[in-house]
């Protein structure tokens, strides 16, 4: 644990929690502009959160502790990832858990507790959302781990800080076929994990199409605020991981105010640009049928496998 890591461990969670609703606001605004609407403004998600936190806490009849604990657990898993993974600084506050497998499993854990909460409500919507979400998670996992495999074999370690520093020291890696194939595979994974189009539509409430929204339908007030915040931070964390795995430049490698400022700015710009690009792409896309999603994921799995093959045969 270095001083740089500790500073990063404080700056990263604060930045990600504070910035992720803004990211969601930016993405909605980009979408609104492209669709010819004025949009509610970048600050709207934060205003929504403030409103929700001000409301009364509600327990739907017949739900248990599981239902009440799930939003907390999801925020907590995302916070731990924001703390441990290298977003602003190359060193990690908790280097012993900044392992890529641990990070991925933590993020999956967050989805899983929410699925349990969905089942706990005993409504058809909750069960439906949970069932669909778990199907997607089960199919995303192989792609994710094989893509990680492709990225980590060259470094000889699955630790995120090692992977990021290796890319910093050897920029040529980014342009290699391994990286490009793995990047495409990971983009699909991130879209699926964060529930964006074409896998899930974050703004729908139509029972035929919703996945994430169906699971959280019973949440209201402060609980809903936590669920929304967790969804936003997960999006920011996934985009941040994607950015720093392939384009880590700007990340602070030493403990100076300028380096830290550059690190924070670089993360904001990278995640902002990725988010805006994702939002712009979504305008031109329709949601896939649920049973078409496995085909998309199988395609990305193939790319990830090709990336591993390339790491051996083109090495």
């Amino acid at each position: 644990m270095t001083a740089l890591g500790v500073v990063g461990g404080i700056a990263q969670p604060v930045l990600i929690v504070a910035g992720s609703p803004v990211l969601v606001g930016v993405m909605r605004q980009v979408r609104a502009h492209l669709e010819g609407r004025a949009g509610a403004g970048v600050g709207q998600p934060w205003r929504d959160l403030r409103k929700l936190f001000g409301k009364e806490a509600i327990t739907p009849a017949g739900t248990s502790e599981m239902f009440r604990a799930a939003p907390l657990a999801q925020v907590a898993t995302t916070l731990v990832v924001a703390l441990a993974a290298p977003f602003v600084t190359t060193d990690s506050a908790l280097g012993v858990i900044s392992d890529l497998f641990a990070v991925v499993a933590l993020l999956a854990m967050g989805t899983t507790v929410l699925a349990l909460a969905g089942l706990d409500t005993a409504t058809a919507f909750g069960g439906m959302g949970a069932s669909r979400e778990m199907t997607i998670i089960a199919l995303v996992e192989p792609t994710l781990l094989v893509a990680i495999f492709a990225l980590s074999v060259r470094v000889g370690s699955t630790n995120l800080t090692d992977i990021v520093s290796a890319t910093l020291h050897d920029p040529a890696r980014v342009a290699s076929p391994v990286s490009l194939l793995a990047a495409v595979a990971l983009v699909v994974v991130v879209v699926a994990e964060t529930g964006r189009l074409p896998v899930d539509n974050p703004s729908t409430h139509l029972e035929l199409t919703m996945v994430h929204e169906a699971m959280v339908l019973e949440y209201a007030g402060p609980d809903l605020a936590l669920v929304e915040l967790a969804a936003a931070t997960r999006l920011a964390v996934f985009l941040g991981l994607l950015a720093n795995l392939f384009l880590p430049w700007g990340i602070a490698t030493e403990l100076t105010p300028i380096a830290l400022a550059v690190g924070i700015l670089a993360l904001v710009v990278k995640v902002g640009v990725l988010g805006a690009a994702l939002a712009a792409a979504e305008v031109f896309m329709a949601k896939l049928r649920l049973f078409r999603v496995p085909e998309l994921l199988a395609g990305s799995f193939l790319l990830a496998l090709l990336a591993v093959a390339a790491s051996f045969f083109l090495a």
């Binding site: 009364e56 933590l106 005993a122 069932s131 980590s152």
Partner: protein, 688 residues
């Protein structure tokens, strides 16, 4: 006989003596006290086994030879670290299972003499298998284990018809497996000229490669069938669920491990490695078993059957580790081989802990509700809060998510596979370069499906609303059953948070298997708080992970409480569920286990090949008015249908054809004998 009295020898001897005494006393005792006597005796047997196993792992060795007991070869036992590890695991599972059984066998009509007397013998048989030091001893102990477990599987055959069917499958398959082991090891012993393991080890290097290959494949079939490896898994998903739950726990968490033990003992220790294709075969079988097992479990709606199928999955993961270890060892990568075998052994221990917990909890559910069908359960958290909590922890431990137990061992396994590729300094060969990514993909798919499976088991079975009256009436189990589950849960928590405490033991077991370098000190991973791989880069600290998660949860809860001025933590208003304005929701509107798994079933339609029937009954007046709809779904085991059914049919046809030979005439039978002798003499005359 070794004169030095040590804990390893004394423990094992005590375990054997206790088991026999318990069996005798349980036979004589009246029915009222029989469960207490039998279970307490078995718990002590298990505890003695744990002591012996730990002593062996810590470095004590023990050797006993009793020449007069068996004709020809005698009986000999030697305890080393590898065997000690398996003995300790079996003993620990037996302790948890027996404490549970004190109450469980009383309430379930299981206080019969047969069950109570055979149970300690089954535990003792499992404890002495890993100590066997000659072919004859191993085979006798193995058969004793098979027979006692068969009797226990059949315990409830009067109550349910499926038990008899399961027992028949188990009896046939376990004996076919026994035959395979017998053939393999006798071939080996014939080449060595002696049946002691020491002689086999010496002879392994002078054996022709094809004979070694035959020995390995035959024993792999036999031991693999005991471990429930695809395609020899058909008995497991039948017998494990039909046995009484404490026996299911012992079979699924203890007995299957001995199949893994046999493969490691024969392949690595006695045969000393062998060519690459052996281990590729093991790796492939492991990967297929893992994916197929968990896929069947994901489709299953029977709680105990689901757990049995998940055993096939976990043994598959263990075999992936064993296969990878063999592969690395043949390429001379001893550090990686040690890491992979260490990961496999850690997974054996972890699986034993969480699977015994899950089976015992499933037994409590069965006792409280009378059903194992997830579609008829639900809402158990209200009546059985402690069991719900324990099963929830077991489900988390089984689904490879942090901070669960399986997460740690699967992390180690993936580390071994990743470091095996040439670009990260591993083995330089095309075969490895193809095998490793495919293995990682299989492990990853298994992990993803395991999450879905255990979310289903826990979420549908224990959360939500009760789907039947029986589930609504469920009451918490008696304290001793909770204590048995609590022991398994505590072990599982320790393994999840501080896996470092068992790693030194695994290191010595790996060294005893002859993997991981000559020095014998090559440890898979070191450190109690932080797992730090030795020889390759990689570190993970489950304890820090748990603390970070706890800290983050508390921080979030505190912030939310401050922001909302205490409204979230305090009393909440209860509101109606959103019912689309259609009146109160009933439990019939809930998602069931079948509907939960339906999307996955559709995705894997080609693999699982489900059989669905929809019967629509129309009104007489109009075809457009539907009176009733009946939907039936069955997910038959496809491998079983394609592989076993034709085989069984062929055997049956052969039997019918053979009936023509037996006409009942004595003259004819004498004639058969005469012509057979003539044919044999002719054969001898020609070949000699």
């Amino acid at each position: 006989m070794n004169s030095a009295i040590n804990t390893a020898g004394a423990g094992l001897g005590t375990a054997g003596a206790l088991a026999v005494c318990t069996a005798l006393v349980a036979t004589a005792a009246p029915a009222r006290v029989r469960p207490v006597v039998g279970s307490v005796g078995t718990a002590l047997t298990g505890a003695a086994g744990v002591a012996a196993g730990i002593a062996a792992v810590a470095g004590q060795s023990m050797s006993v030879t009793l020449p007069g007991v068996l004709p020809l070869s005698g009986v000999s036992w030697t305890l080393d670290a590898l065997g000690g590890l398996f003995i300790a695991v079996t003993g620990a599972v037996a302790v948890a299972g027996s404490v549970y059984a004190i109450s469980y066998t009383r309430s379930h009509g299981l206080e019969s003499r047969g069950v109570q007397a055979v149970f300690p013998l089954f535990v003792a048989a499992m404890l002495v298998v890993p100590a066997a030091a000659s072919v004859g001893t191993l085979l006798v102990c193995w058969e004793l284990m098979a027979l006692t477990s068969l009797l226990l599987v059949l315990a409830e055959h009067r109550q349910r018809d499926e038990v008899t069917d399961a027992g028949r499958w188990y009896a046939v398959m376990t004996h076919l497996g026994f035959l395979a082991i017998l053939a393999g090891l006798l071939t080996f012993a014939a080449h060595a000229g002696d049946d002691s393991f020491a002689a086999l080890r010496r002879a392994a290097h002078t054996m022709p490669p094809w004979v070694a290959g035959v020995v390995f494949v035959a024993t792999l079939i036999g031991f693999g069938s005991k471990a429930g490896i695809v395609p020899l898994h058909a008995w497991l998903a039948r017998a494990h669920p039909e046995a009484p739950s404490h026996v299911s726990a012992l079979m699924s968490a203890g007995m299957v491990n001995l199949g893994i033990y046999g493969i490691i003992r024969v392949g690595q220790d006695l045969l000393g490695g062998g060519p690459r294709w052996w281990w590729l075969l093991v790796l492939a079988l492991g990967a297929v078993s893992a994916v197929y097992g968990i896929l069947q479990a994901a489709m299953s709606t029977d709680l105990k059957r689901l757990l049995g199928q998940s055993t096939t999955e976990n043994m598959g993961l263990v075999l992936v580790g064993v296969g990878a270890a063999g592969l690395f060892a043949t390429a001379g990568q001893q550090v990686l081989a040690g890491l992979a075998l260490g990961a496999a052994l850690l997974h054996v221990i972890n699986h034993a802990a969480f699977k015994s917990l899950l089976f015992l909890a499933a037994g409590s559910v069965l006792r409280a509700t009378g059903t194992r069908d997830l579609d008829n359960l639900g809402g158990l958290r209200a009546g059985m809060p402690i069991t719900t909590g324990l099963f929830g922890w077991g489900a988390l431990a089984a689904s490879a998510l942090p901070p669960g137990t399986a997460f740690v061992s699967e992390w180690l396994l993936l580390q071994a596979l990743i470091h095996g590729l040439p670009s990260s300094g591993g083995v330089t060969s095309t075969v490895t370069a193809i095998a490793m990514p495919v293995a990682v993909a299989a492990v990853a798919l298994t992990a993803g499906l395991a999450v879905a499976t255990f979310i289903k088991a826990f979420g549908v079975g224990f959360l939500a609303k009760p789907r039947t009256e029986a589930a609504a009436q469920a009451r918490e189990s008696p304290p001793l059953m909770l204590a048995g589950m609590g022991l398994a849960a505590a072990a599982s928590v320790v393994l999840a948070v501080l896996p470092g405490v068992v790693l030194p033991g695994i290191g010595s077991a790996v060294a005893a298997a002859g993997v991981g370098g000559e020095s014998g000190s090559a440890r898979a991973a070191a450190g109690v708080v932080t797992l730090r791989l030795v020889g390759v880069t990689g570190a993970l600290s489950p304890l820090v992970l748990v603390l970070a998660l706890l800290g983050a949860s508390l921080l979030t809860a505190g912030v939310v409480r401050a922001v909302t001025a205490g409204r979230v933590g305090g009393a909440r208003r209860v509101a109606r569920l959103w019912d689309c304005g259609g009146g109160p929701l009933s439990s019939r509107m809930e998602y069931t286990a079948t509907s939960f798994a339906e999307p996955l079933q559709r995705v894997f339609d080609d693999v699982v090949a489900p059989e669905t029937d929809v019967d629509v009954d129309h009104h007489e007046e109009s075809r457009y008015l539907v009176r009733t709809v009946e939907y039936r779904r069955r997910v038959p085991d496809r491998i079983e249908q394609r592989l076993y059914q034709p085989l069984l049919k062929a055997v049956a046809a052969w039997g019918v054809a053979g009936r023509g030979l037996a006409s009942g005439s004595v003259h004819r039978y004498l004639g058969y004998g005469f012509y057979t002798v003539c044919a044999l003499l002719l054969l001898l005359a020609v070949t000699r």
